[in-house]
């Protein structure tokens, strides 16, 4: 396909035909931005407008509101439910079209939505979730008038305390169209293809079984649209992903569910999952309730039993063993890049340099606060270090060892928006992997019930045939395309404000960051 940057022509003579190219026609997906409103009747908003019984249905509110919040359908006596997600709330109070002020009966009141206290948490604040939904709906950065404080969460540390030091004036202004947001994934200089993605992120692994078909396919289609990647997860490679093979990373975890030589040969990147941020050191666990007929078939397992990917790989007890793994994949698929997904132990720097020495193309660090699926609470909170520390530690160590330019460093585990992406890159990553953000865009409210009963009540992380029907692929794809577009716009804005023209120029630029809890006087001291 036109967008795919996998260069294969010069490899024809040396590679077996079966691994040279994918064997099914590849689907193209447009990255056009189209509105994709919420699939729920009542989208959650920061404020709500209460209408008292004093209302005489005069329709004045409909006349004055330019946002279309109030709806009175022709021929109807009563108002329809207001479109509160379109209301800009308190920002409207100072305008000349504030419905509350215009109401002749004083029947309208603007109040804070009590749901804001329930929605979200200190990592994903309610504002951040609303802003993500707005981006997924419109494909654009949410207008400031909505008042969303979404750039940082409220966790009190890490990304939430880091800020960029934007210069007051740039020596040379950078235009948005001059900014290059692409990154290379193969820096080793070996004979394998140069793979370039158009945005500095790709989708994380969510396996068949843990999320619905629709979710997985939507993730794959947005990867095609934005010339980036999604990951199959460890639950096997469903046939419906075949038309998107060129943008899929297939994952090999200890359970080896659905892993066959043939599936490994389909894709341009193969990922070894040594650990994952949600449950570092504990392996994967699909609860029996989610092991439905189709999941069992895909995973080549018994129906209804819990499925484990035990930790660790019992074939890997040294870097040399790790190298054997990588050589195995490189032999089976001669065009594939190899990614090693590891979590963040105290010696994560040694793990990273070891993976590099073993011949991996991508070191993927998954921080301790990451994860989308069900995991023991004790693991999510306590095991392994947050990604913010690990990025800086690994980047510095690889640099000191002279290996930094030869390996791609990808970070994940708590990346929530374009600002987090930029901060991760400034700390030393080349790019990031996202997961929860995509689920939020699809309508996740982080109720944490991914594993309870029939699975996700919102139809995102479930294999229940009825619940899955809440969402269709076109809508899911468009929401994610819109989210990616908004993020890219915002990421470009950040680079322009910093006077940078590419992602590479931002990588490792900790001098552009400041931490709210520090004196930030190191440069002056030195």
């Amino acid at each position: 396909m036109a967008n795919c940057s996998v260069q294969e022509n010069n490899l024809k003579d040396v590679l077996p035909e079966n691994t040279l190219k994918t064997r099914v026609p590849q689907t193209q997906v447009s990255r056009d931005i189209r509105p994709a409103p919420s699939r729920y009747r009542n989208e959650i908003s920061k404020t709500i407008i209460r209408r008292s019984h004093d209302c005489t249905k005069c329709g004045r509110c409909v006349e004055v509101c330019p946002h279309g919040v109030h709806v009175k359908k022709p021929g109807y006596k009563y108002f329809a439910e207001p479109c509160l997600d379109l209301c800009i709330g308190t920002a409207c109070e100072t305008t000349d079209h504030f419905c509350v002020a215009h109401c002749p009966q004083k029947a309208l009141r603007l109040v804070e939505n009590p749901a804001m206290k329930v929605l979200g948490d200190c990592r994903w604040t309610a504002d951040m979730m609303l802003a993500t939904w707005k981006m997924a709906e419109t494909g654009d950065i949410p207008p400031a008038e909505y008042g969303y404080e979404y750039e940082c969460g409220n966790s009190g540390g890490g990304f939430d305390r880091l800020r960029f030091k934007y210069p007051d004036k740039l020596a040379v202004a950078v235009r948005p169209e001059d900014v290059d947001t692409s990154i290379e994934l193969n820096r080793t200089g070996d004979s394998r293809p140069q793979v370039k993605i158009d945005v500095p992120w790709y989708g994380g692994g969510m396996s068949f079984g843990s999320v619905s078909n629709v979710t997985q396919l939507s993730k794959a289609r947005v990867a095609v649209a934005w010339n980036t990647f999604t990951c199959s997860g460890e639950g096997g490679y469903m046939e419906r992903l075949r038309p998107y093979d060129d943008h899929v990373i297939t994952q090999i975890a200890t359970g080896l569910f659905g892993v066959r030589e043939e599936t490994i040969q389909r894709v341009p990147i193969v990922e070894f999952k040594y650990a994952q941020g949600a449950k570092p050191g504990l392996g994967g666990h699909l609860l029996g309730e989610k092991n439905t007929v189709s999941v069992a078939k895909m995973r080549e397992a018994m129906l209804g039993i819990s499925l484990f990917s035990p930790f660790p790989f019992h074939s890997v007890y040294s870097i040399e063993d790790h190298m054997k793994h990588i050589d195995w994949i490189k032999h089976i698929n001669r065009r594939a890049l190899v990614s090693s997904k590891v979590s963040t132990p105290t010696d994560v720097d040694m793990v990273a340099i070891g993976s590099y020495a073993a011949g991996t193309h991508i070191v993927h660090l998954d921080g301790g606060y990451g994860g989308t699926g069900a995991a023991p609470d004790i693991a999510k909170k306590n095991i392994a270090m947050p990604i913010e520390y690990a990025i800086a530690k690994v980047h510095g160590f690889l640099k000191a060892e002279g290996a930094r330019d030869d390996v791609t460093l990808i970070a994940s585990g708590g990346i929530r928006n374009a600002h987090d992406i930029a901060k991760a890159i400034a700390l030393g990553a080349d790019g990031v992997v996202i997961g929860t953000s995509e689920l939020i865009a699809l309508g996740c409210v982080r109720c944490t019930r991914c594993s309870a009963g029939r699975g996700c009540p919102r139809g995102i992380a479930t294999t229940d045939p009825t619940l899955q029907t809440q969402m269709d692929i076109e809508w899911g794809t468009q929401r994610l395309i819109n989210l990616y577009n908004a993020w890219r716009k915002e990421f470009i804005q950040i680079l322009c404000r910093l006077g940078l023209r590419s992602v590479g120029e931002l990588c490792g630029r900790t001098d552009l960051l400041m931490h709210l809890d520090y004196t930030n006087d190191l440069e002056h001291k030195s």
Binding site: I44, A379, I383, V445
Partner: protein, 463 residues
């Protein structure tokens, strides 16, 4: 093959109405009675359950708050009449340390004996005070382990209480035992005496039974000796200087005894050791002003084989204007004992602030051999920490009427869930033995140190 430590559990539902986090507020007066009402579509069938609950409701003060918080009905209601709210009773539970989340997760574990599991990643703060200012390590590729989730049957959580030899010693060809008596526990946990603020004397038999069922030891006041009967191997009496003198045959059946610290503590130890050399004697040091220094002094005395350092229920020093947390005191004490070469000669038990299973693992990493706790067991009995445990006062958990099957079952479930969680984190760390975890700060990552190593180098000094 040695016998595996296994706790028999079974689900024990709560006696009182559940205090859930969320509830749906329903403005019914505007309802248009849709035939396809969103309430019928609740994935968890909570609206139907609520109707049944209200129909059978016995306590007018206990509304239905068992909503799962998915917003589906709120967002789909034709007239937008439903609203999700946080239960005010839930928010009022506990205090700033014993948060509603801790209380609720303890209730869940006491009911099901299962490890708490949830989706959607971590939701809490980046770090926090106390035990929240550290993370536990995991092993990966360069430090591999076979102790992962499928090697958990090989993980031993047992610990020994008493004086251990700092090196191997032989008597002829035979390996010599320890220097004195040792008590082995299957997990690094002891059931502590509950504060009178949080318990009732009627509950003592339940603690003893729970200790016996889980293979642990419960510390009891010495006044309770006539009632301990068959539980004596699982009871450690706390001997007040002015308490009753225990009969010799009672002491002979116990394995551990606790004395409060005091000026004559060495004489009391000598007296007990003279009559009952088989007993491990633990000295309880309250962490008031100078308490940590006193603990270190005592630990270096040859007569001391076990120390119980006790902070307040929130894990802080007692009566100190700027109290330190038990984690930091444990690290200081542990390091001091290593430097004096006496670490293996004294067993260090800590109590106070142990609210979750992770605290047990973290306290051990910081230097404790084991921990003691009681409040989580009270919470397992649906205690809400209202601090009004006095005869005649209304108890929301109705503690005075608890039967043995319910009480022991709930506490046993909680201990089992804690054990499973300890195994989880030890598996991730690649540790096969809880004994080896003691003081292994390399298996912990501390906020202060990580900040200095990472951001300190980039951004100067932390304010």
């Amino acid at each position: 093959m040695p016998e595996k430590y296994h706790i028999q559990t079974k689900p024990i539902p709560p006696r009182r109405p559940r205090i859930g986090k969320y509830g749906i507020v329903d403005w019914r007066e505007d309802c248009c009675r849709c035939h396809n009402c969103v309430k019928k579509a609740c994935v968890y069938d909570r609206h139907r359950e609520e109707a049944g609950y209200i129909h059978d409701m016995k306590d007018v003060d206990a509304l239905f708050f068992d909503c799962m918080g998915c917003f589906s009905c709120v967002q789909n209601c034709t007239k937008a009449l439903l609203s999700l709210e946080v239960n005010p009773i839930y928010e009022a539970l506990g205090n700033s340390y014993w948060t509603p989340d801790i209380i609720q997760t303890t209730w869940m574990q006491a009911e099901t004996a299962k490890i708490p599991v949830s989706g959607a990643g971590y939701r809490g703060p980046f770090s926090g005070p106390g035990f929240d200012s550290m993370w536990t390590d995991m092993s990966e590729i360069v430090r591999p382990t076979r102790d992962g989730i499928h090697g958990r049957e090989y993980i031993s959580t047992s610990v020994d209480l008493g004086r251990k030899r700092p090196f191997l010693a032989f008597e002829g060809q035979a390996l010599m035992d320890s220097d004195g008596p040792l008590v082995s526990l299957p997990m690094p946990l002891i059931i502590d005496m509950a504060s009178p603020d949080h318990t009732l004397p009627e509950l003592d038999p339940l603690f003893r039974e729970t200790a016996a069922r889980t293979g642990l030891i419960a510390i009891m006041d010495s006044c309770a000796w006539p009632f301990a009967e068959t539980y004596l191997p699982h009871v450690a009496f706390h001997l007040h200087p002015d308490g009753p003198e225990l009969p010799r045959d009672v002491l002979n059946q116990t394995r551990l005894i606790e004395l409060p610290d005091g000026p004559d503590v060495l004489k009391r130890i000598a007296a007990i050791k003279k009559d009952c050399p088989h007993l491990v004697v633990s000295i309880k040091v309250m962490l008031g002003a100078g308490g940590s220094q006193r603990a270190i002094e005592l630990a270096n005395l040859p007569a001391i084989e076990m120390l119980h350092i006790a902070a307040d229920p929130n894990g802080n020093e007692i009566g100190v204007s700027q109290p330190r947390f038990i984690k930091d005191i444990l690290r200081e004490t542990h390091v001091a004992l290593i430097e004096s070469g006496t670490r293996d000669q004294v067993t260090l038990m800590s109590s106070g602030g142990i609210a979750l299973a992770e605290h047990m693992a973290k306290a051990i990493i910081c230097g404790a051999d084991l921990v003691a706790m009681s409040l989580p067991l009270m919470i397992a009995l649906e205690c809400q920490l209202c601090h009004s445990c006095e005869p005649g006062m209304h108890c929301p958990a109705q503690l005075e009427s608890i039967n043995t099957a319910y009480g022991v079952g709930r506490m046993t479930n909680l201990v089992s869930a804690w054990h499973d969680q300890l195994v989880e984190v030890m598996g991730a760390m690649g540790m096969r033995e809880a004994r080896r975890l003691r003081g292994d700060v390399g298996r912990g990552m501390f906020f202060k140190e990580l900040e200095e190593d990472t951001f300190g180098k980039l951004f100067g000094t932390r304010k």
